[in-house]
């Protein structure tokens, strides 16, 4: 089974700070990590390989320092890592990013499964995975909480919904995005540390892939971020719990009436 996992290096902060003048994330002094949902995707890929054999390749588009994130995935147990990096990719929105990643995946060969995290914790768009599937013309199953092999061509995926799981079977090749409850990502091993430091990370630039330069980076990005701001903190909400729903509804109605006055 040939699996490729797309990961993103993101700033390690739950409270993203924004420069009020430039409307961009302040990255200085904030350590970088592998996007947590992407780690679930890497863990799922490694588990599938352990069960069914094959190879796990990690792919990331980003500046040269994104190598650190790729190395972290090698420590976990991935077989190889590829960095897609070029000045031409700078300033890409999700459309240009998924276009580039899809081109890179095509350049790297055939894969049975493409795994992504459900979204990145910095941008929170949840668009890149599905867009890659569209570019590569393959089925997609998002928000996977469980992935199992039905037969050599088919996967069964439990999609996490608000109040239930949707069980979907899909033919490979397929793109799947991972949620947190899919698994508990492993820390890795000492052997992984050695492989990460002594192994090569393959580099793909725009010249290595058949791409239309107009669709790369800032030029290929129709989305423009006009403003990013931190919303004002709201007060704590009140949760009515521990009583039957009908009583809770009545209490809630009374509270609402009072607040309207």
């Amino acid at each position: 089974m040939n699996i490729i996992v797309c990961i993103k290096q993101v700033p390690d902060t739950t409270e993203v700070k924004i420069d009020p003048v430039t409307n961009t994330l302040i990255r200085q002094g904030v350590p970088s990590i592998v996007n947590p949902f992407d780690k679930n995707a890497v863990e799922a890929a490694i588990q599938l390989r352990e069960l069914h054999g094959g190879k796990v390749t990690i792919l990331s588009m980003g500046p040269p320092q994104a190598k650190d994130a790729l190395k972290e995935c090698i420590v976990m147990g991935a077989d190889e890592a590829v960095l897609v990096s070029d000045r031409a990719f700078g300033g890409a929105d999700t459309l240009a990013t998924s276009y580039t990643l899809a081109a890179a995946i095509r350049a790297l060969g055939k894969f049975d499964i493409i795994l992504c995290g459900k979204q990145a914790i910095d941008g929170d768009t949840a668009q890149v995975g599905p867009e890659i599937a569209e570019y590569l013309n393959m089925p997609q199953v998002t928000y996977a909480a469980k992935i199992e092999l039905v037969n050599e061509k088919t996967l069964r995926v439990h999609r996490e919904q608000d109040d239930c799981y949707e069980v979907i079977e899909a033919q490979m090749p397929v793109m799947i995005t991972a949620v947190k409850s899919l698994n508990e990502p492993r820390l890795g091993t000492v052997w992984g540390c050695v492989r990460a430091c002594r192994g090569e990370i393959k580099l793909l630039t725009a010249a290595d892939m058949p791409v239309n330069y107009d669709r790369l980076g800032l030029k290929g990005s129709p989305t423009q971020v006009r403003q990013i701001f931190t919303p004002e903190a709201r007060g704590l909400g009140k949760i009515i719990s521990g009583i039957p729903a009908a009583e809770a509804a009545e209490q809630l109605a009374q509270m609402l009436c009072k607040s309207i006055g």
């Binding site: 091993t189 000492v190 540390c193 430091c197």
Partner: protein
């Protein structure tokens, strides 16, 4: 000597830290209170490859070197030094002599699974009446056809009862004294090999310490480790390396005590300000960190010498002597900074103080370290 660590060394150190914070810290206090040796948790730890760090790839090792290994011992020991000594005793005292003196078959059979974290190891030298005087061994091994028959007992054995592989010293030629001692590899489960009582100890209660009992225990002749009569040399060389590990354990304990003390001193207010603002406390902290850093540098020097194949016995003894004394002093001072709370089991520093004491005793008492150091100076 380059004081910059490689990316690989730092990555391994971080792996040990991440594991300790995630898996060891949440239960360490409870395991200590209950003297619980948690085998599944220890298995999880050794499966990270911690026992593989200093050994070459052909035996399942990682080839990352001795300094990376010592950094991992220190890191784990910062959070749970019982866990630190568990894998350190296994790798340094069982893995190393098999690596350095074993046959190719012995290395594949015993060192490989140890590196892979499938087994843990132990080392049996000390006896009831043979502590610092290792030549007073009464455990004997007699060749009978194709087997050695071992009789005797070994005391205070770290990982005893839990380890699958034991490197055991026994007399094969009593009149020759230390030259009559030989080393053997004994597997757990061998008929005639049983375990005595588990020690109740002052500290390091998350590790296990037991007596090994041999009653007509027959092992195959090929389980002789090294040459006949080479046991004392094997034991001494093994302990030289083991001392760097114990020094790293001591350093981890000391650093943990400092980290707790600094946090507490900044938070605890008396006379209207944090006690850290009192010079009496601030100067104690300054001494504690300076001494611990000095110990760490001695440890890294010894590890670097060993890694680069240079003589290190004297430097290992110096690191062990100094680091363990520093750990004892620093943990005692940390308890002092915490005051009454420090004496309470509610806070971790009393555990660190109890655990520090053993580092002055095992792997050769600090008095023996002074013998080793002075003998090297005066020869």
């Amino acid at each position: 000597m380059d004081l910059n660590f490689t990316e690989e060394q730092l990555m391994i150190q971080k792996l040990a830290k991440d594991f300790a914070e995630k898996r060891l810290v949440p239960t360490v206090s409870e395991r200590d209170d209950n003297s619980e040796f948690n085998r599944p948790l220890m298995d999880e730890m050794v499966k990270l490859g911690l026992q593989a760090i200093p050994f070459p790839e052909e035996y399942g090792g990682s080839g990352a070197g001795y300094l990376a290994y010592i950094m991992a011992v220190e890191e784990i020991s910062k959070y749970d030094d019982g866990a630190g000594i568990t894998f350190c005793a296994s790798a340094s005292l069982c893995g190393y002599p098999i690596f350095a003196f074993g046959t190719e078959e012995q290395k594949q059979k015993y060192l490989r699974p140890l590196c892979l974290g499938e087994t843990i190891g132990a080392f049996g030298l000390t006896e009831a009446n043979a502590g610092s005087d290792a030549s007073a061994q009464t455990t004997v091994a007699v060749l009978d056809n194709d087997e050695y028959v071992i009789n005797g007992a070994k005391l205070f054995i770290t990982n005893g009862g839990e380890a699958e592989t034991y490197v055991v010293m026994a007399m094969t030629d009593k009149p020759r004294g230390t030259r009559g001692i030989s080393a053997f590899i004994v597997e757990k489960g061998t008929p005639g090999f049983t375990f005595g009582k588990r020690e109740h100890k002052l500290g390091i209660n998350t590790s296990i310490t037991m007596e090994l009992v041999f009653q007509n225990c027959r092992i195959p002749k090929e389980n002789l480790l090294g040459k006949l009569g080479q046991g004392f040399r094997i034991a001494m060389e093994t302990l030289d390396g083991g001392r760097i590990g114990v020094a790293a354990q001591a350093c981890g304990i000391a650093q943990a005590a400092i980290d707790h003390a600094v946090k507490y001193a900044k938070m605890r207010e008396q006379f209207g300000k944090p006690i850290a603002a009192q010079q009496a406390i601030a100067f104690m902290l300054a001494d504690m960190q300076t001494e611990t850093d000095a110990a760490r540098l001695l440890i890294y020097r010894a590890a670097w010498l060993k890694e680069t194949g240079k003589p290190y016995a004297k430097e290992a003894a110096m690191a062990k002597l100094f680091a363990s004394d520093v750990a004892m002093k620093v943990t005692t001072d940390a308890v002092q900074i915490f005051g009454g709370y420090g004496y309470s089991r509610e806070y971790p520093v009393e555990r660190l103080m109890r655990n520090a004491k053993i580092t002055q005793i095992y792997e050769g008492t600090n008095q023996i370290q002074k013998l080793v150091i002075s003998a090297a100076m005066l020869k």
